[in-house]
Amino acid sequence: MSIQSLIMDLQKFWAERGCYLAQPYDLEVGAGTMTPDTFFRVLDKRPWKVAYVQPSRRPTDGRYGENPHRVQKHFQYQVIMKPSPSDIQQIYIKSLGALGINLQDHDIRFDEDDWEAPSIGAWGVGWQVLLDGLEITQFTYFQQAGGIDLYPVPVEITYGLERLEMFLEGKDNIYDLKWSEDVSYQDLRFIEEREFSEYNFSLASIKRLRNSFLSNENEARMLIDKDLLLPAYDMCLKCSHFFNLLDSRGAISVTERVKMIAQIRGLVSQIAEKYIARKNTP
């Protein structure tokens, strides 16, 4: 039992259901939803099935390696199916069975939890999935991305790998998890958590972050003008990460927060519109 065997089980399960297995995206993102394999591919009308692990960074969740549950970087297992299959809930339940969980012995609940990512103009309707009270998955029918109504509707299933593994191993501390038989989560991640917490909360230069936000925003605008949508979107992801860092430095006021999120959303919406227009012209 280990995180990597959990990943392998999920890969096998979803590959067998027709998903293409993508590799993690190589930029800092807050969630698997933000990577191009999800963001762009949900916009158009073509069917799409993908599954991948995505390391996800949330600087404000850092706890210097001292909290047994919270980390500033965690691993998501992201699945997108478009259009959403009619039996997707049963498929998902089966996937838990495939991980060796005997559901007859547990309480599995789909608890109302609508999802929203304002910086990429995306929202959906769905649940957090609770297994004996533990949140293990976010299950969402996307309704909009980049401010555009999605049709057909994609379903997104995001497993929290650490949570799931804690459940499977019966551990109370994230750092006690095994990544493989010989390597623990502690070995791999502890120093990283400590150092990044220090950086995110205390040392990240607010001035440099603000400048970076601005220069990437400008770059994105330039690229949108040149119709280079994928690079433009990368710039937006960077903006979003710089925004998150500024936030963890406590440098953003409430009004500024609204403004910066609106700036990113504005760019992302333009990209989404252009992307759709391009798909619709032969």
Binding site: D107, V125, L130, G133, Y141, V153
Partner: protein, 692 residues
């Protein structure tokens, strides 16, 4: 014949299920009525995964007699009784012989026409037609699309079961064909089974671990909880909202009793019960109001034979309590006073400044309020409470559990040994959260609650934001109702107008709107809220209007005025007084104001009226300022006979201008006195025109 409809969906939120069941019952009744299908015993049931309607409907529509009206009898029938060409034409157009036409009496006179009997269609056909309409007409607080369809519903529909007289009905909704099968519990019995009747359906589902009747599930939960509590000799920390949620959240309830380490008992009950409720939806258990190291949870299961559900929940709860304990310790490392220095960093509302600004305003408002209601003893404490009231917004605990704002600040203030009047005020100042909630128990809490809400209301309105229909982004209605509730229940007497002036003045230059406009908007707004509260309590709307439109400067007196009216509404003197008061008002309509000159009172009856009026006035003015409106009212009854004989014997609208004006002036003085007791013109009397 028996009818069953079951829509099987993915998990809907409890509020959606409840909304849908109400709508389904209404739509079925409406549609069947308009389709002439007889029905009885329409019942609805729901779980998070099912919406169920049953009932008995007649097998066919009622036969319908329809009239087709042709030409008037005078046109269609000649004097000799033979038919004219108009009648023949009509008969032809209806495909009948002219001799079949009959005389039909209508409101407009006698016409030629015919009656046809239309045979009722089979109900089965009607249902197949109206069911897709009924289902797609359901509306939910938030709707979604799924798959490749543009159909919107609460959550995806998986299966439709629909039987009429034991046979399936044929229709489909968004590609899903109705059939005669359903599925059981999503984990234990996901396979389809067929059913033929409601009894069979209900029993089969129960075997497959689904209890469709919400009331039955509620009873199951309560009885299981009861059993666990008896063994513990403890009580549930009551939480109706949570129970109501859980009833719809699950299809088969299994109550688990779990425990947590005693070290967390040092956390206050409020924090423990919130940590349990939010996220895992667990009930906390108390003995003599003290938290016990146990919880109760409701699983969607029929057993926990390996105790895995209990252990899983215990582990998750321990992690949450760990966090809460960490926050509790972390937050107390700096005192509230020290933390307060960062209040200027958090924005209350963009145009209204930071929470530091709000705190400064609150201090001034509570000090004014304390003076006005003569709370001299409490003044110092309530100012101190205002100073601390918003500091908990800066704590980790409130960041984690926003619903505990106020409570958390109060608890930390208590830990820091502030006097009870201070910490309780902080603790209670968000109360009442709704009209069904209790107002603060402490006077200091009540003052702070009024000040906080009024600051928000005046500020938001002063920035030009108005409340319309469903748009109330700052919850101003709830806030205003809170103010009214606190003032009335604590029987506080103070001038609401001057309070508004004060709050507006404290804001000073921050408010963009003109002061008078803000004030009059606020007064209107509060009058409407007051009407809403009173009508919700079941008072007659016209009595409510009579009380509220007599003025709301003293909100508590508006209430006293209303109960006086309500208690006297059936007295034999009531109606005659209103009739006479309306008569007075009618005469005075559009008249400028005049002044009474005693010397000009010529007739006996007008001198008498003046005397009666003066005596009554002297008697009731002190009663009014005391708020004794019942007594004031009873005394007012006595003016009626004098007014009557005045009207019978004295010509008000005489040609003699000075006399006329003097008589009008007398009536104006009376009217002015009456309106201090109630605005009688608002009261509706049967057989009279209702007020505009």
């Amino acid at each position: 014949m028996e009818f069953i409809l079951e829509l099987n969906t993915e998990e809907m939120p409890p509020a959606h299920v409840k909304a849908a069941l109400v709508q389904l019952e209404e739509r079925f009744k409406e549609q069947l009525l308009s389709q002439n299908v007889e029905r009885r015993q329409i019942k609805t049931y729901g779980t998070c995964r099912r919406l169920v309607v049953t009932g008995y409907f007649s097998p066919t529509q009622k036969d319908r007699e329809e009239e087709f009206i042709g030409p008037p009898k005078a046109v269609g029938m000649k004097q000799d009784g033979s038919f004219s060409s108009a009648a023949k034409g009509f008969a032809k157009s209806q495909g009948v012989r002219v001799s079949e036409l009959k005389v039909i009496k209508t409101a407009k006179g006698e016409y030629l026409g015919l009656k046809k009997i239309e045979r009722g269609m089979p109900t089965r056909d009607i249902l197949s037609e109206i069911l897709p309409q009924i289902v797609s007409s359901l509306s939910f607080p938030k709707m979604m699309r799924w798959g490749e369809s543009s159909f919107r519903f609460s959550r995806p529909i998986k299966n439709i079961l629909c039987l009429f007289g034991g046979k399936k009905l044929s229709f489909s909704i968004e590609g899903i064909r109705a059939g005669n099968s359903t599925t059981g519990h999503k984990i234990y019995f996901p396979k389809k089974i067929k059913v033929r009747s409601f009894k069979e359906y209900r029993e089969a589902l129960k075997k497959m671990k689904v209890v469709i009747d919400q009331e039955e599930r509620r009873k199951m939960i309560l009885s299981q909880i009861g059993r666990k509590l008896t063994s513990l000799k403890a009580e549930l920390h009551p939480d109706e909202g949570l129970l109501e949620r859980l009833v719809y959240d699950i299809e088969y309830p299994y109550v688990i009793l779990g425990s947590f380490p005693e070290e967390y008992l040092e956390l206050p009950l409020e924090v423990l019960s919130t940590a349990m409720r939010e996220g895992q939806k667990l009930f906390s258990i108390v003995k003599e109001k003290k938290q016990q190291p146990f919880f109760l949870g409701v699983a969607d299961a029929y057993q926990d034979s390996k105790s895995l559900i209990r252990k899983g929940n215990e582990r998750v709860l321990k992690a949450r309590l760990d966090d809460a304990k960490f926050f509790w310790e972390q937050d107390r490392k700096a005192t509230l006073r020290k933390k307060a220095k960062a209040l200027d960093k958090i924005v209350f509302q963009e145009k209204l400044g930071s929470y530091e600004d709000k705190t400064q305003r609150l201090k001034k408002i509570v000090s004014y309020l304390a003076d006005k209601i003569e709370a001299t003893k409490e003044k110092k404490q309530v100012i101190q409470a205002a100073e601390l009231s918003k500091v908990d917004l800066l704590t980790e605990m409130v960041r984690e559990f926003p619903s505990l704002q106020g409570n958390v600040g109060g608890l930390y203030a208590r830990e820091e040994k502030y006097p009870a009047l201070v910490w309780k005020a902080v603790y209670e100042h968000y109360q009442p959260v709704s009209l069904d909630d209790e107002p603060p128990a402490s006077l200091t809490g009540a003052i702070l609650s009024i000040a906080d809400r009024l600051d928000s209301i005046v500020g938001v309105i002063g920035t030009g934001i108005t409340v319309t229909g469903s748009k109330d982004p700052f919850g101003l209605r709830r806030n205003a109702q809170g103010v009214c509730k606190v003032i009335i229940e604590r029987k506080l007497c103070l001038s609401f107008m001057r309070l508004l002036d004060k709050v507006i003045a404290i804001y000073g230059e921050r408010l963009q709107e003109p002061k008078e406009k803000i004030k009059s908007y606020c007064l209107d707004f509060f009058s409407n809220r007051l009407r809403y509260i009173f009508e919700r309590q079941g008072y007659r709307y016209d009595l409510v209007n009579a009380s509220v439109s007599a003025g709301i400067d003293n909100l508590y007196h508006s209430y006293l005025r209303l109960i006086a009216l309500d208690s006297l509404k059936d007295s034999p003197s009531f109606e005659p007084l209103i009739i006479i008061a309306k008569r007075v008002n009618n005469i005075l309509k559009d008249q400028p104001l005049f002044k009474v000159n005693q010397a000009l009172l010529a007739e006996k009856e007008e001198r008498e009226l003046y005397t009666t009026f003066s005596i009554i006035k002297n008697n009731i003015i002190p009663l009014i300022s005391k708020g004794d409106f019942s007594q004031a009212q009873r005394i007012i009854f006595r003016i009626r006979s004098s007014i009557n004989s005045f009207f019978d014997n004295v010509l008000v609208m005489t040609d003699e201008v000075r006399m006329r004006r003097n008589r009008l002036a007398l009536l104006q003085a009376i009217s002015k006195l009456l309106i201090q007791v109630a605005d009688y013109s608002q009261i509706v009397i049967e057989g009279q025109d209702s007020p505009k």
